[in-house]
């Protein structure tokens, strides 16, 4: 019991510190690293809530795969330090934190004042397999099969969309970049050989 509380405060503190790091650090690369720390702390919290499969998915999919994508993009566009001071005439930079604090107060009032009496308990009685990969997999493939298929289709669309968005388009950006007939006759224009260089 004491160990559980200790773990909650360590992981919760880590999650909040990581979140603050994402928002407050100037260099986007460090923001990404802070988000990794935040996600791993969240995985510990998921374990405390006996969501074993989701904790594993969080570490593997989020802290692993998605964050690698971020690191690559930051390295590609060269993450320069960002000036965090509010821009002259920028209303959002001043009102943003105010809005966030108001939202926090409102949400806390809603949670504390809610009539969900089970909020002040440690949760319902659960079996030993609660949140295990087997049970989640059975739910996904039986009750939520259509949702599961829709999610996989959505991932496919997103992957195609990313390729279309980020693909290099020859001759579109620069009007001088016109392919001449002589170049076309060379035979290797617009081929993969040319793309590789």
């Amino acid at each position: 019991m004491l160990f559980e509380q200790l773990l909650f405060f360590v992981a919760g503190g880590g999650a909040v510190a990581g979140a603050l790091g994402v928002v407050l650090l100037r260099n986007p690369f460090f923001s990404v690293l802070a988000l990794v720390a935040h996600l791993i702390s969240l995985a510990v919290l998921f374990l405390l809530l006996s969501a074993a499969f989701l904790a594993a998915a969080q570490v593997v999919v989020y802290a692993g795969a998605v964050m690698v994508l971020y690191v690559f993009v930051v390295a590609y566009i060269g993450g320069a330090d960002e000036d965090l001071r509010p821009r002259a005439g920028g209303v959002a930079a001043v009102l943003g934190p105010v809005f966030a604090v108001v939202l926090l107060v409102e949400l806390t009032i809603a949670i504390v004042g809610s009539s969900l009496s089970a909020l002040d308990t440690r949760g319902a009685e659960i079996g030993a397999g609660f949140g295990s990969p087997g049970e989640i997999g059975a739910l996904l493939l039986n009750r939520f099969l259509i949702v599961f298929e829709a999610a996989s289709f959505l991932l496919l669309i997103a992957a195609i969309g990313a390729v279309v968005l980020a693909a290099k388009r020859r001759g579109l950006d620069d009007p001088d970049d016109v392919i001449s007939v002589a170049e076309l006759a060379r035979g290797d224009v617009g081929t993969q050989k040319e793309a590789i260089g």
Binding site: F8, A15, V16, A19, V22, V23, V32, L35, H38, L42, L45, L48, L49, A51, L54, A57, Q58, Y62, A65, V66, L69, Y70, V73, I77, G79, E82, R87, A92, L95, G96, P97, F99, A100, L104, L107, I111, V112, L116, A118, L119, R122, G123, A124, I126, F130, G131, E135, I136, L139, V147, L154, L155, A158, A159, A162, V163, L165, A166, K168, D173
Partner: protein, 99 residues
């Protein structure tokens, strides 16, 4: 630990993320802050799933992860496209849909 602790923590993280989305200028960091908000939602979903003792919340959280991954992929694709066209990497100057 009472479930309320987890839900309040999730509200806290959500608000930090919301502040970041509203104040930061780099679209990369705005995407990161969106991740924060989605993860806070996930934490609340899992806390409530534990409260009711029902695993359907876990499936919901898993789908939120899928949505977050899609959003990241498309968002980063747009940022790379902005970089390729030598547009400023700044959300304030991105006010038109036409590049």
């Amino acid at each position: 630990m009472d479930i309320a602790w987890f839900v309040v923590l999730s509200a806290f993280i959500f608000c930090i993320g919301a502040a970041g989305v509203l104040t930061r200028r780099s679209p990369l960091v705005v995407l990161l802050c969106l991740e924060l908000m989605l993860n806070a939602g996930n934490l609340a979903l899992i806390a409530f799933a534990r409260m009711v003792g029902n695993q359907e919340g876990h499936v919901f959280a898993l789908i939120v992860m899928v949505i977050a991954a899609c959003e990241v992929v498309i968002g980063l694709g747009i940022i790379v496209a902005m970089y390729r066209r030598r547009l400023p990497i700044d959300v304030d100057s991105m006010s038109e849909l036409r590049g």
